[in-house]
Amino acid sequence: MKKLINHVDTVLAESLHGFAAAHADIVTLDPGLQFVRRRTLKRGKVALISGGGSGHEPLHTGFIGHGMLDAACPGQVFTSPTPDQMLAAAHEVETGGGVLFIVKNYSGDMMNFQMAAEMLERDNETVIINDDVAVENSTYTTGRRGVAGTMIVERIVGAAAERGDGLAALKALGDAVNKSTASMGVALTSCTVPAAGGPTFQMGAEEMEMGVGIHGEPGRRRVKLTSADDIAAELTGAVLKDLSLKRGQEVVLLVNGFGGTPLMELYVMTHAANKVLAAAGIKPVRVLTGSYVTSLEMAGCSITVNAVDAAMLALWDDPVHTAALRWRM
């Protein structure tokens, strides 16, 4: 294992301190490291709280700020945070509007957030993200996994919360965005969890894992590496098949790097995905390319398509100011 770390036991804490220092204008770090919160809270606004295992940066802490999250609870690498973290975050950032939890569909996250939601003595709702079309019932999930589509939900619901929408409306919007969002990914290499010290899985030099999860979990099948066009065709094709969109549908396209793939290749994949969309008569009205929901240093990417209506698109375009996503402010 070759990593820029001091000790495996201090990676998370030191990374959180660094993050807080780098984005001190936007966030503050809880002294107990239970959560990261927005520096300035808006009174009465529904508090958006997400979280999950670490190792997916910038998700979730990088999406704290105006137009997105109010707090995020970082767990150990690829391990759900614990209920006391979510409770501490909720008590800190809830200002009268209630709490909306945004949770990726993994057994661990579901159980820990559910426990927190039951213990929290304030109005709260939970939106569950399950946009990964690759597999049903994976090793650590019942149903589909939540992956890169999470950031799209956080962005659109975050914008609606910012303009003052209530808890019930935000829950309904979050569910609707999740339902209209689908993703699938491919891995070219494994990743190494610092504390594990070695690669999560073994893969041949010429192989790829089609449908991989964001923790390096197995996908649909292990096959020989093919061209960017072929990979984009399979990923985008699977996503479009799941959403069964009509020709002319407007979408947000997200080409998301897993951490070890350079932007140059992500742009090749963006171009390739665009060709697939064009052939299917789908209109990518917004395109976002970058590493937003990562799997440590895993090479590969995912393609996410979010079918939008005019209202969702307007929310997507609203001002946002977070460490990882910023426009119009």
Partner: protein, 202 residues
């Protein structure tokens, strides 16, 4: 009281087997199960003096809450709920029948929490056979303890075949076949360590 010995043995066995649990989880999951269990075990060991002074019931509840707040992932709520439920349900001096009843309540609580059922390659596939054995066995004392120990290890081993028979995780194909569920293995290790202390105390 020997519950302080039980706690020491049940946590140490997880720490000693961290590499094996990591390897099991790397085969079919994200590879963090061993590290998460070790973190919980170390947190419990750091409260050893407090736990040794508590009643069995209170010690179980304290350990359960410690699991929930330190392990994370699915193992935190699962092992936490198991321990807290046992702490609520067991009498101060439990016999085999009491343990069977408390395990029944725990299995129901875990089924609600994890929306999993027996046969789906989870630690329920160790707890349920052990509960059945405690309910139906005519044996007592050391013979029963030895049988429970064997039952736990055999049941964990049997989870290796569950993907293929259930069709769950069928996308894994033959990559999942033959791999023991890491949570079930942890459960068996804990039960085995407890049985070893009970056998040695006789």
């Amino acid at each position: 009281m020997i519950h302080d010995q039980l706690i020491r043995a049940a946590t140490q066995i997880l720490i000693d087997h961290v590499d094996e649990l990591t390897a099991l989880d790397q085969a079919i999951g994200d590879g963090d199960h061993g590290l998460n269990m070790r973190r919980g075990a170390l947190a419990i060991q750091s409260k050893y003096d407090e736990l040794a002074a508590q009643s069995l019931n209170d010690a179980l509840k304290t350990m359960g809450m410690t699991c929930m707040s330190t392990i994370g992932g699915s193992s935190g709520p699962v092992f936490g709920t198991l321990l807290v439920t046992l702490g609520k349900e067991l009498p101060a001096e439990p016999q085999a029948a009491d343990l069977a009843r408390a395990l029944d309540a725990s299995i129901k609580a875990l089924t609600r929490l994890g929306k999993a059922e027996v046969g789906q390659k989870t630690l329920l596939d160790v707890l349920e056979p052990v509960r059945m054995l405690l309910t139906t066995s005519s044996e007592q004392g050391a013979a029963l303890v030895a049988r429970v120990r064997q039952c736990a290890f055999d049941s964990a081993e049997a989870t290796a075949q569950m993907d293929a028979t259930r069709g769950r995780s069928s996308f894994l194909g033959d990559r999942a076949l033959g791999h023991v569920d890491p949570g079930s293995r942890s459960m068996a290790l804990i039960i085995g360590a407890i049985c070893d202390v009970l056998l040695a105390a006789r």
